[in-house]
């Protein structure tokens, strides 16, 4: 799935800059006039994010696929960097006439400076047989030099978006020192196929597991059992999805290895099992089951062996989520009378309640480090809104605005974004937003889509 096979530095200034970050680059094949002391970190005005421009990449071969890819890569890269919210992206239609040259060696620095750009990504696409070769350079406009350069060979013709995502993650890593989410994926449940559930006389529409790029592109169906499937979640290596599937009378936990097309059933068919969630090290799965007569939290090894019960309470304990270190589990319990978020140690001890001001709180999801926060959905009138509880500070922030009902939050692997489901447009769709509730993006548009989960 990952396209870049060969990555190397193409400029001397880039080399020196990258040494700060990675220090494992093969020698550069060509070197433009060396600049002295180019800052590889592009900055904007003091206190403001840098302004970036990304014109269409240059098509170096004259076929239609190359022309389309050259435009698409620039569009997707612009959107990816915009999503990270560390860069002020200049709208792409404002610089159509600037710098239409056929080389990535340099740019018209003065024209870009006039436009207010601090960073410009210029790139090219060349068709070589059944693949593309994509080259890109990130120019530091103020310093009039190259901050980063890369060549990507063997880019698949069918999905040029993937190389744009790779470029975005590299720029974000080198410029902001942060991991990007451009190559991550979402999994969720969808009824879009409108297929009638088998093995029942009732008229019910099947709900299947889907995956999509984080931005909603490349939506693909994972299951085809024409039954109800719920609560999918990614393994930490982002290669498997665990979910509950009503393939028998009782929903069982199934793991689909999405890149191999194989699957394993982890729980038996004698009792129901829901909400599988992998521990951060990937070795254990927490889940809810009624096997002992009441909804309780259990944990098992990733192959389904060694089931251990963690809660023991006549109330319903459900929807577990692991802390970033795997030492604690937050979950929903109605032992106080209404569903609230509780936390316990990973061995089931030291149980304490963390939500108090809510009439109904559910679907806790613990953010990755460095943010020690728990997002959940809380009743806020007729519907629900997404809130964040800061574990250290004990404060709560509301992220959504009461339009429709907003449920099932899931953090991005960086903790800087949240996916959730919302009925704000009528049907239930998956959206993403920043962890401050801003920068809302719609991910799905077809059918009803629920239970989002973000790959690691």
């Amino acid at each position: 799935m990952r396209n870049p096979v060969r990555i190397f530095c193409i400029t001397a200034s880039c080399m020196s800059g990258l040494a700060l970050v990675t220090a494992q680059n093969p020698p550069a094949p060509e070197a433009p006039p060396p600049q002295t002391e180019i800052s590889v970190t592009i900055t904007g005005e003091i206190g403001a994010p840098p302004h970036y421009a990304i014109p269409d990449f240059i098509a170096l071969t004259s076929d239609k696929e190359t022309a389309e890819a050259a435009k698409l890569i620039a569009e997707v890269l612009w959107s990816d960097l915009s999503f990270e919210r560390e860069y002020d992206m200049i709208p792409r239609d404002t610089y159509k006439t600037i710098d239409v040259t056929s080389t990535t060696a340099t740019i018209a620095f003065d024209r870009w400076r006039e436009l207010g750009a601090d960073g410009v990504v210029k790139g090219s696409v060349r068709r070589t047989g059944n693949t593309f070769q994509v080259e890109m350079r990130l120019f530091n406009v103020r310093a009039r030099g190259v901050a980063l350069g890369r060549v990507y060979d063997n880019v698949a013709l069918r999905n040029p978006r993937a190389v744009a995502h790779t470029i975005s993650d590299e720029i974000h890593q080198t410029q902001s020192g942060l991991r990007g989410v451009a190559r991550t994926k979402l999994t969720f449940i969808s009824d879009r196929d409108n297929e009638r559930v088998v093995d029942t006389v009732e008229t019910r529409t099947g709900k299947e597991v889907y995956v999509a790029d984080y931005d909603g592109a490349n939506q693909m169906r994972v299951t085809a059992n024409r039954r109800l499937n719920v609560t999918p979640s990614w393994s930490p290596d982002s290669r498997s999805i665990a979910y509950s599937s009503y393939t028998r009378i009782h929903p069982q936990i199934i793991v689909s290895n999405v890149y191999q097309g194989t699957r394993e059933t982890l729980t038996d068919e004698k009792s129901s099992a829901f909400f599988p969630v992998y521990s951060p090290d990937g070795n254990r799965i927490a889940f809810m089951s009624q096997r002992d007569g009441n909804p309780e939290i259990y944990v098992m090894n990733r192959d389904g062996s060694g089931v251990r019960r963690l809660t023991n309470n006549s109330a319903a304990d459900s929807t577990p989520t692991w802390s970033p270190t795997g030492t604690q589990i937050a979950f929903t319990s109605d032992r106080s009378g209404s569903p609230q978020i509780w936390v316990m140690d990973a061995d089931g001890l030291n149980v304490r309640r963390i939500t108090f001001g809510e009439s109904w709180a559910d679907r806790a999801t613990w953010s990755p480090a460095p943010f020690n926060q728990i997002a959940y959905s809380a009743r806020s009138g007729p519907g629900f809104d997404i809130r964040i509880f800061d574990v250290a500070a004990g404060t709560t922030t509301t992220l959504t605005d009461g339009v429709g009902t907003n449920e099932s939050p899931a953090f991005s692997p960086t903790g800087r974004h949240i996916a959730f489901s919302s009925s704000r447009l009528g049907k239930v769709q998956i959206f993403t937003m920043g962890r401050d509730g801003r920068n809302l993006r719609q991910v799905t548009r077809s059918g009803n889509n629920t239970f989002p989960n973000w790959s690691r």
Binding site: T200, V201, E202, R204, K207, L228, V230, T231, Y246, I249, H250, P251, S272, F274, F275, M288, Q290, G293, N294, P295, A316, S318, T319, T332, D334, P339, W360, D362, R363, S377, P382, F384, E407, S408, T450, F451
Partner: protein, 186 residues
Amino acid sequence: MKLRSLICICVLLLIGASACRKSQPPVARPTPPTPPPTAGTTPPAPPEPMREPMPPEPLPSDDVAGRSLDDLNRDSPLRPVFFELDSSDVSDASRTTLQANAAVLKKYPSWVITIEGHCDERGTPEYNLALGERRAVSARQYLISLGVDASRLRTVSYGSEFPFDPAHQESAWSRNRRAHFVITAK
């Protein structure tokens, strides 16, 4: 002559019974084969002892026994029970329904039942999966208290995933908070 009018009455009863039932789509059900009235050749029917007309059975037993699981579930003798908002308590009305269901289950002791617990759409889908299980369990407990063998009663929660009525209003919600009975073996 007598035989003929008996058959007529039987057929009428059957039609009446099926018309009374709150049936879903009118599925073509094989009508019981009527013996050909080959007049004259057969010996006259023995004088039947049944003087009293049978009390009207809601479900003639031979009809039920002969139907497939799918046919039974399509027009089930087991009625759903409904719940209050955020509650899994069995109401008085539900008790009456469950008592009737228990009578059916005692009449057909080989049947195995799955009790599906369902919720309306207003809660979160995750907690609804837990709440639905509770509703199924309370219906099951009441059936057990009425003498139905526990081993015949399985429970499963569907949360709010399969509303009976997809409308977004109270009239739909009150019908969606339910325990639904599925005959899974007979």
